[in-house]
């Protein structure tokens, strides 16, 4: 089974492609250090921003001499200040994310989520953004502090290699509350989860927006969840609670199930659209490269 430390998925060609990508933010954030992301502040990058008339104290080298030759007035060229961006990853590590259908050999939801997170983290690191990673279930269960620069990508991979225990249920609201409380600087936050929280996702995502985060939602799903094929007299054991539910699954029940799941996912997508939250839905069966290079770009998370 492929995993995040499978070098074949992060070969140099794929990494080169990733380096061409940038994380998209719907708005600009104030950075702390110089980086490759434009900010509202004017600075010393090569990106021309505007002119203004010369004032005392301005550096002589910033005067646009050709303009002075044409207009006989002194103008100073203004350049954009490129600053770093805080990029956080909230990766669902609850029991439901570790669930895989019986006998399935492909990558599961959690593996898919952390591989996406790793890829996005690489992009962020390559852009000198500040990356932090948080695993959550009923709360934030483990986190990796701020990383910056590609050199620290291996630390990121090491963190992903040691996921936390997988028996806890999902509690998005409590997890987001814990994340917000311990994160001082707003920025981009990627929430990777199946969003199967009986208490709902709305409050958690609203809380992130209220904390001035640019929220990107990546819903990771297993195809067997979308369209189960098991029929007969079943005792369904929930992965998170261990509770049993007796169901006689026939075509009618399966049809209702598919409709329920579709309605739930449509509800999540509509909620994100209303709240200007980027949304992407990913299934585990899809080739990983497609997910990163197509799904996330379609979801307005990468450019």
């Amino acid at each position: 089974m492929a995993s995040v430390h499978d070098d074949r998925l992060f070969d140099s060609a794929f990494l080169a492609k990733l380096e061409q990508l940038h994380l998209l933010a719907r708005r600009l954030f104030r950075g702390e250090q110089r980086a490759e992301r434009r900010s509202r502040q004017l600075g010393s990058s090569l990106e021309f921003a505007d002119y203004r008339e010369y004032a005392e104290g301005d550096e002589m080298r910033s005067i646009d001499w050709p303009a002075y030759a044409r207009l006989e007035r002194l103008f100073v060229k203004l350049y954009e200040q490129e600053q770093d961006l805080a990029v956080s990853f909230l990766v669902d590590a609850s029991a439901s994310m570790h669930w895989r259908p019986d006998g399935a050999q492909r990558t599961g939801k959690f593996d898919t989520a952390r591989r996406i997170a790793a890829a996005l983290a690489y992009i962020a690191l390559a852009n000198l953004d500040r990356v932090s990673i948080h695993f959550f279930a009923d709360s934030v269960v483990s986190e990796l502090g701020v990383m910056r620069g590609k050199a620290q990508f291996h630390d990121v991979l090491d963190f992903f290699r040691q996921p936390p225990a997988s028996t806890k249920p999902t509690n998005l609201r409590a997890s987001v509350r814990a994340f917000v409380q311990r994160t001082k600087r707003s920025g981009i936050v990627f929430v990777l989860s199946d969003f199967f929280d009986a208490a709902g996702y709305e409050e958690a995502l609203a809380m992130l927006q209220h904390a001035q985060f640019d929220v990107h939602v990546i819903q990771v799903l297993e195809p067997a969840e979308l369209s189960p094929i098991e029929t007969g007299d079943l005792r369904l054991v929930e992965s998170e609670s261990g509770a049993s539910l007796e169901v006689t699954a026939n075509e009618a029940v399966l049809e209702r199930y598919r409709a329920e799941v579709a309605a739930y996912n449509a509800g999540l997508e509509a909620f994100c659209r209303r709240r200007a939250i980027s949304h992407a839905s990913v299934t585990c069966e899809r080739p990983f490269e497609d997910v990163v290079l197509k799904n996330l770009r379609d979801g307005m998370m990468l450019k």
Binding site: S96, W99, D102, K109, D194, F196, A198, E222, E225, P228, E230, T231, G232, D233, L234, R235, L236, V237, E238, S239, E240, S241, A243, S244, L245, E246, V247, T248, A249, N250, E251, A252, V253, L254, R256, Y257, A259, E260, V261, Y264
Partner: protein, 613 residues
């Protein structure tokens, strides 16, 4: 509806197993899922859906139970009666009369042969061929109603016994016809007997005549009676007949209480008969049972008629009180009767308490003061003076009517008796429990009135014997002796014999032994009396009767010349094979099985489409 395999009802005991298996089937396959969120809503969306879910459970269980019941019903093999009627119905008439005890050359009896044949027929019982058995002794009766259960037929054939009774076969045939008339399909009668000629039969009849040796010699009559001239003794009448085709020399032995008392040699020509009278036999004493047995020495085909049984009346002494101022003729007669202990009393010395101590009291021209029939206790003979209202005097009445069946006038001849005068009295009407009759009459007037109230008896002679020539006639002692013994409660001296198979009505409270005794027991034992009421003895011998603490014996005999005639009167008819029943349709059990199978397929289809669980 008839169930051909009723034992299958035990299959219903498996119903709880079916229900248990159903619930075991509901054990579900465990499947792990990420969340129940969508399953709960998909599987149990509304209360209406939950209702249908429960209904599905119930429907599935009901289907299982219905399938099981249908299959159990099919196992019981129900057949509609209409279909059975369209099958074959056979009535076997099994002769159980005394004649069936006759033996053939091999030593087997006709009855044994008949049972063997009946068993062979019973083996042909089938779903569509039912048998009924009629057993015939003194009267026909249905031993087994129509059934196709071979085991039941064989069991009941093992229980049927031959009897010593005589009877007619015509009633049995009528009963068989009645049974068959209510049936449909092929109907026939099988007659297992000694060869009964049947002129015309309503239904096809197969007669099996079982032969026997024809050399039978049998006792056809054996009776005792007390000699009127000497009540102390009895005489015995014995009739023996040779039913064979050759003359027979034999001997007959008479035994009393198991002790031989007489033997007589007999020579009987072919078809001939012999009458023998054995006189002057003593009456049985108080300790004796009065068993009188006759046996002839004959190695013939039928043993049951080689013995005969009779009983002698027991000797009883009666106390009689004569209340008279003196009556020469009456005193002489009572003194001469050894069965009577006679005492005489003057009228003025009589009291009712004294009279109650005697079996009979004779009031000669005297009626006690304040004598009331309603309150009187005891048995009384009034001579001339009676408690009845005195009417006019009839001069020289003629005796016009003598009831010879009445015990008091039995064997009494009063022809040309001259009576000077008598009291005119019509037969009194019944009153105070008394019922009166007049066994001796002069036109409309009674000369002798007798009355009975339960066990109490009364007689009134309405003329003075001294004013007639009656004392000079033989009839006088007979009339007085008969009347006194009747008043004392003595039964007729000649005991009627009981014929095997005929009902005997015993008094209330009487009990009789279930089995007869035929040989004198060395230990003096007696079969206990067990039952009372209507009693129909089927075997010959002595039956012990207990009545009011008093024991007596009943002798039972066959005494039937047709039964003793061991030669077959008709040959067997050709034995026709029993026809197979016409197959008119499927029995119901097959439809039940098909319905069960269809339901099973339906349940399977519904289950695999998750319509049931």
């Amino acid at each position: 509806m008839t169930f051909l395999s009723p034992w299958a009802v035990w299959a219903l005991a498996g119903l709880p197993v079916v229900i248990a298996l159903y619930f075991l089937r509901l054990r579900r396959r465990a499947v792990k899922v990420s969340t129940h969120m969508f399953w709960e809503r998909a599987a149990n969306k509304t209360s209406r859906h939950a209702f249908f879910q429960r209904l599905r459970h119930l429907l599935s269980l009901l289907l299982h139970i219905a399938i099981f019941l249908l299959l159990a019903g099919a196992l019981a093999k129900p057949v509609m009666d209409r279909l059975v009627n369209d099958g074959a119905s056979v009535v076997i008439i099994l002769d159980c009369r005394a004649r069936m005890q006759a033996k053939d050359e091999s030593g087997a009896t006709r009855f044994e042969r008949a049972i063997h044949t009946a068993r062979a027929y019973a083996a042909e019982t089938g779903e569509r061929r039912q048998f009924a058995i009629i057993e015939v002794d003194s009267a026909p009766s249905v031993a087994v109603p129509f059934t196709s259960d071979e085991r039941r037929l064989l069991d009941l054939l093992g229980e049927i016994k031959v009897t010593d009774a005589a009877g007619e076969m015509g009633a049995a045939l009528d009963l068989a016809y009645t049974l068959l008339e209510a049936r449909g399909g092929d109907r026939r009668v099988i007659l297992l007997s000694d060869g009964v000629p049947v002129a015309e039969s309503k239904f096809p009849l197969t007669s099996h005549a079982f032969p026997a040796l024809g050399n039978n010699v049998g006792i056809t009559r054996f009776a005792t009676r007390t000699l009127p001239a000497n009540p102390e003794t009895s005489e015995v009448l014995l009739e023996v007949r040779n039913f064979g085709d050759a003359a027979v020399k034999t001997s007959v032995e008479i035994s009393f209480d198991g002790r031989p008392i007489d033997v007589k040699a007999l020579t009987l020509p072919a078809g001939g008969r012999s009458f023998s009278v054995f006189p002057a036999l003593v009456k049985s004493g108080r300790a004796s049972r009065g068993w009188l047995t006759a046996r002839i020495e004959a190695d013939d085909s039928l043993a049951v008629d080689n013995s005969a049984f009779a009983t002698l009346p027991g000797a009883r002494s009666r106390r009689v009180l004569l209340v008279s101022k003196g009556n020469f003729f009456m005193e002489r007669i009572l003194e001469a009767d050894s069965s009577v202990k006679f005492e005489m009393l003057a009228p003025e010395a009589y009291s009712s308490e004294l009279g109650a101590k005697f079996s009979a009291v004779i009031f000669d021209q005297f009626v006690p003061d304040k004598f009331e029939l309603a309150k009187a206790e005891g048995n009384f003979l009034f001579v001339k003076s009676t408690p009845f209202s005195a009417g006019a005097v009839i001069e020289q009445p003629l005796v016009t009517e003598v009831d010879s069946s009445h015990p008091s006038t039995r064997n009494v001849s009063l022809q040309n008796v001259s009576i000077l005068r008598s009291t005119a009295l019509a037969v009194p009407l019944a009153a105070d429990g008394w019922r009166f009759s007049a066994p001796l009459r002069s036109f409309d007037n009674a000369l002798l009135v007798t009355g009975q109230r339960n066990a109490q008896r009364l007689a009134a002679l309405l003329f003075d014997v001294a004013e007639s020539d009656l004392p000079l006639r033989v009839a006088f002692p007979l009339l007085i002796s008969n009347t006194v013994h009747w008043l004392a409660g003595d039964e007729p001296e000649t005991l009627p014999g009981v014929i095997a198979g005929r009902p005997v009505n015993l008094p209330d409270g009487a009990k009789v032994s279930a089995e007869p005794m035929t040989a004198w027991p060395r230990d003096g034992s007696v079969h206990p009396a067990v039952a009372g009421g209507a009693f129909r003895p089927m075997r010959n011998g002595f039956y012990h009767v207990e009545e009011g603490g008093v024991s007596r014996w009943i002798a039972v005999n066959t005494f039937s010349e047709p039964e003793s005639e061991s030669k077959a009167t008709s040959a067997s008819t050709a034995v026709a094979p029993l026809p197979s029943a016409v197959f008119t349709g499927w029995p119901l059990w097959q439809w039940l099985a098909i319905a069960g199978f269809v339901l099973l397929l339906g349940e399977w289809w519904l289950h695999h489409r998750r319509r049931t669980e």
